[in-house]
């Protein structure tokens, strides 16, 4: 490193000056130098920075082309073919899409089941996460312990968490039905019941997700609300409920919005719990959309059809997200945004 100390110009003004000085001074190849090109006329400072930037992000560029953009285009093409992995793909035009909409007895029911799951899981889940965050934000004694207890289910391995609940919901000796029997209620078969299977899977998801990252994000959102707002509201004579309704809730709407968008996307993709706990049953009661897609792809090896199902899912997700962004202006309050 020949350039150390004395060769540096004293107190250079701009960043560019400083970097230029460094670049021109660096004529010997110092150990660990990534781009050993200064001195050559074409390697200006700007170019050096550019090149370094591209080199640093290059793993992502390779990954994006090979595992994102490429596969997305490939799946679009595959969705127009019949392809069973063994024989080469046969172009069939839009037949897969037509089949899905008109000739697949499981398509619409599976989509409807996934939407039903979303309708139960998302509102209840967000409400409960918000409730937990509000409780923890009261700075009660032992808050750290409670936060940990609420959080632990979300780090429990998915498979184990599903097992936990299979035992709780076991119809004959499960804890849930025993508890119900104490108050004289005969509990249903839960995961084995056509009507209760989806609510049961929702319950499992609520247990794992309600106190997890969603709650932590809400908690951080609550702690980001300036105290002055509450003080001002109290001076104006607002009680606890009105402070919540007119300070906390509006200030939290951006967080709620962000969390809702993500939760909908996750819930619509429900798969693992159905695969492990119910196997899509009983009588197809938990045969969700992604379950259908998985079966088509990896059990029947209808890769072309599965790709078409993937694109339909993509369109549904985009539609959901688009609608939520459109409705945003009705209820999300961004502090610092001009009110009209």
């Amino acid at each position: 490193m020949a350039s150390r100390s004395s060769t540096n110009p004293p107190a250079p003004r701009s960043q560019a000056n400083r970097l230029e000085a460094a670049a021109t001074a660096d004529t010997t190849a110092a150990p660990g130098v990534l781009l050993v090109a200064p001195g050559r006329p074409w390697m200006t400072l700007r170019r050096r920075e550019m090149l370094a930037g591209y080199v640093f992000i290059s793993p992502w560029i390779v990954g994006y082309l090979a595992l994102q953009l490429g596969p997305v285009l490939a799946s679009l093409l595959l969705s127009l073919t019949a392809y069973n992995i063994v024989e080469p793909p046969q172009f069939v035009g839009t037949r897969n899409y037509v089949t899905a909409f008109t000739n697949d007895d499981l398509f619409w029911p599976s989509l409807r089941r996934s939407l039903y799951y979303v309708a139960l899981d998302v509102p209840v889940g967000i409400l409960l996460s918000l409730l937990l965050a509000l409780l923890l934000n009261q700075r009660l004694r032992g808050t750290n312990l409670f936060r940990t207890l609420f959080f632990l289910p979300s780090v429990t391995p998915t498979v184990a968490a599903i097992f936990f609940w299979v035992w709780i919901m076991q119809p004959d000796w499960g804890l849930l039905n025993w508890t119900l029997s104490l108050v004289g209620v005969r509990g249903p078969a839960w995961l084995g019941s056509i009507e209760w299977a989806i609510p049961s899977l929702v319950t499992i998801d609520l247990w794992t997700a309600v106190g997890g990252t969603r709650m932590v994000i809400f908690l951080a959102g609550l702690q980001g609300i300036p105290r002055e707002l509450y003080e001002a509201a109290a001076i104006d004579g607002a009680g606890a409920w009105r402070r919540f309704r007119h300070v906390t809730l509006p200030m939290l709407t951006p967080t709620i919005f962000f969390v809702t968008v993500l939760t909908v996307i996750f819930a619509l993709r429900v798969f693992t719990s159905a695969y492990i706990a119910t196997g899509g049953g009983p009588a197809y009661a938990t045969w969700f959309y992604t379950f259908h897609l998985f079966k088509q792809a990896f059990q029947f090896f209808s890769m072309g059809y599965a790709s078409a199902l993937g694109w339909i899912l993509m369109v549904v997700l985009l539609a959901f997200t688009f609608v939520q962004f459109r409705l945003q202006s009705r209820w999300v309050h961004y502090e610092g945004e001009r009110q009209s």
Binding site: Q15, R18, L19, A21, A22, A30, P31, G32, V33, L34, L35, E49, A52, G53, F56, I57, P59, W60, I61, V62, L67, P71, V72, I85, L132, L135, L136, R141, F150, L152, P153, V155, T156, P157, T158, V159, A160, F164, W167, I168, D172, S181, V216, I217, A220, G221, E231, A234, G237, I265, R269, T272, I276, A297, F298, M303, L309, G310, L313, T321
Partner: protein, 300 residues
Amino acid sequence: MTVHAAAQRRGYTKRSDRLRRLAVRNGLYTLVLLLAILFTIPSYWTLVGSIKKISEILVVPPVWWPAEPQWRNYARVWELTPYGLFFTNTLTVTAASVLGQVLTASLVGYGFARFRFPGRNLLFILVLSTLMLPPELTMVPHFIIFKELGWLDTWLPLIVPNYLGGGAFFIFLFRQFFLTIPPDLDEAARLDGAGELRIFWSVISPLCLPVWAAASIISFLAHWNDFIGPLIYLNTQDKYTLSLGLAAFRTGGVGGVPMGEPRDHLLMAASVMMTLPVVLMFFAAQRYFIRGVVMSGIKG
């Protein structure tokens, strides 16, 4: 003016105010306690079930604590199933994945945070847009790619993708972090003629330890708990991870328990053993973990 003074001005006596607040606080406390118990019961039930005799599980009313703790349930899981193998498999896949994910995501995040190059903003929007991409869409092409590479029934499809950028979530996390480090530090090193990779390694990375810790834990949990990846790519039992092995143990595909014979007590012991490392890890690094979640969620 404080809240308290305002309350006084509105005519509350100090005493009734304090009583009311105490009542509210006790109510909240009861609620939080009830919820905490409700949240803990499923885990407790499996934990205590793992040391019961099977007859103590299949019985009503429930047994809250076994007459004689059956610690041998744990030993029997190791005898009847290749549990040790599943464990080391999971550890190998997880460790290799976490390393790749954290390493390349931090390099890419640094690239986006520190250097100006044409197309940077557009590329970063592309990074974020991949968050919206459902994995189901690329599942089939990925399967075909890895099949062509001859990687089916190996761990490579689970590990290698992590070395290609590490995913949008982590890139975003690291970029947000690097934006908070003042550029004077690396400029000084640049002045000394250090190369970019060297600057990253010896100047920047020592400052990253907290964010690396946060990312490592989040990544560890995701890979340790992953089910769909192993389900798609692994076929032979000796390559199974714990998620897959446990699911197969339940359905009878793994383990020397005769079909039809109840194995819930053993399955409970196996579940506890799978959960324990994660919980310990979480306790050890809870602080970093929560901070990581907050950083990624809020600064967006």
